[in-house]
Symmetry: C3
């Protein structure tokens, strides 16, 4: 089992778990768990494949869908045992983001050969599952949180692309990328790492504008 | 006219009507009616086709778009005569969901031959139009309502797939699936059928977490 | 440099700027600026290409992504100098919408030859970037604002299609379409042009319904 495939299964599984945890926070029924687990688990990779013009990965190999379903059911019966589901969701999301930033960049590079496209598909694959989850569950979007999120995905995708262009073997590039993304995201979660945000002044609400 | 094509036109038309009714609830202008009618009417099928790598149905046959436009205009001029537009929206949505769960599963099965993919494309086609409508209209998402919704779509898609695998002729599988999905959804609307939801405790808000 | 390509670059650049301005209103960090600039700049065209079954434009030519990135960085360092960022966002959005309604209709016509599809892809390409921006930034959707928005996109797409069917050369059709869309949208922004909205009564909230 090569590391790429492992990262792929791991990404699907942990993102599916975050979707199911969001369903538990919203007190949905078991089918709601399955649905949010699937959308979060396979959403990012689905858009990556559509954009690259590649066959959608879970249509070729429906096992990915079954992984999401199993995880959804497992979380339905165990989520009450977790003390802080939101914290767990954030850490699993960090793992999924790291795995998918490597996977997405690898697939973008393999299909197009363009480093720019590889960085974009890496970021997109890593962040879209979580964005869709938050949008559908009506939760505050990870995208708008003050800490580093998209940046971690970008770091992973950039490291993969650099290593790959430098001629590193695929498993090495993938593991380096996973590590880079996870360190950045873990630093954000644990120590509150953040870029200086744009601070001058918040936007006025549309109704305040003359 | 075979039942599959009939279900297809019916699904587009009733979903388009729900989109237009959402536009009336938001007091949009006539073009807003056309837009929401079209997104709701053809959104689910569009994603189904993209995911399956099939040509998008309304690009091949633009009549579907014209159906949405006609429905949008009709609803613009008649919605004020409906006593409870929200109730009507829910029942039309139930019809569209039932038609599309059969249609989506049929197309998934025809293109990939995988029962798992057929169930997923059935669910997706049936629920995505309504999800997009609620997201774009800023309404509370059908996905998060306590009653059975995605489950009805899954029931329809599963019945189609089982009947198809068992060798039933296409029209029979499609009608059985339509009936199964509609009975489940109608029971939810009429009698409040619901699964036991995940109840242990709601999620805390992010700002409450230490 | 033909006008179509110019409209294309202009559309990407101004939409990217509106995405970055939305990021400044939400006080995101610089990567948030890049992300919203890219989603807004290339989101509409991405869906257009997926729906038409054409290769996604920025996968073939990643320069579009680099344009978004440059604009994102520029806006990060200059947005504080703009007096009303929301007003600027609306006017740039009007330019992007006008450029993309022509571009989207041109591509829809070129790929399918169907006037109906051309009008739809013109509207979609022109409005989707802004819709995604508002959705992801958690801003009130342009779609639900009382003024004319989708209508301007439709006007541009319809003018392009009519001119093209009447045999006008591509650059002429494109410029006519750009002008039509911009005049309609500018009239809405400047003079509050609006269609009579559907007014009978707003929708009740779901919880008010017996």
């Amino acid at each position: 089992m090569n590391p790429i495939l492992l990262l792929d299964y791991a990404g699907v599984a942990v993102f599916a778990a975050t979707g199911a945890l969001a369903a538990s926070r919203k007190q949905l029924d078991i089918i709601g768990f399955l649905f949010l687990a699937s959308v979060t688990g396979i959403g990012g990779g689905t858009f990556r494949d559509l954009i690259l013009g590649a066959p959608v990965f879970w249509v070729r190999n429906p096992d990915y869908v079954l992984i999401c379903a199993v995880i959804g059911v497992l979380v339905f019966f165990t989520a009450h045992m977790v003390e802080s589901r939101y914290k767990l969701l954030l850490w699993l999301d960090a793992l999924g983001l790291s795995a998918y930033s490597a996977m997405g960049a690898a697939k973008g590079m393999a299909v197009t050969g363009s480093p720019t496209v590889a960085v974009v598909t890496g970021m997109l694959t890593a962040t879209l599952g979580g964005i869709l989850r938050d949008l559908l569950a009506g939760e505050p979007s990870v995208l708008l949180r003050p800490e580093i999120y998209v940046t971690a995905a970008m770091a992973g995708a950039a490291v993969f692309t650099l290593a790959d262009v430098a001629g590193a073997p695929l498993p090495v590039s993938a593991l380096l990328a996973f590590a880079a993304a996870f360190i950045v995201r873990a630093g954000a979660l644990k120590f509150g790492w953040a870029f200086p945000a744009y601070k001058s002044r918040p936007g006025r609400r549309p109704e305040d504008i003359p």
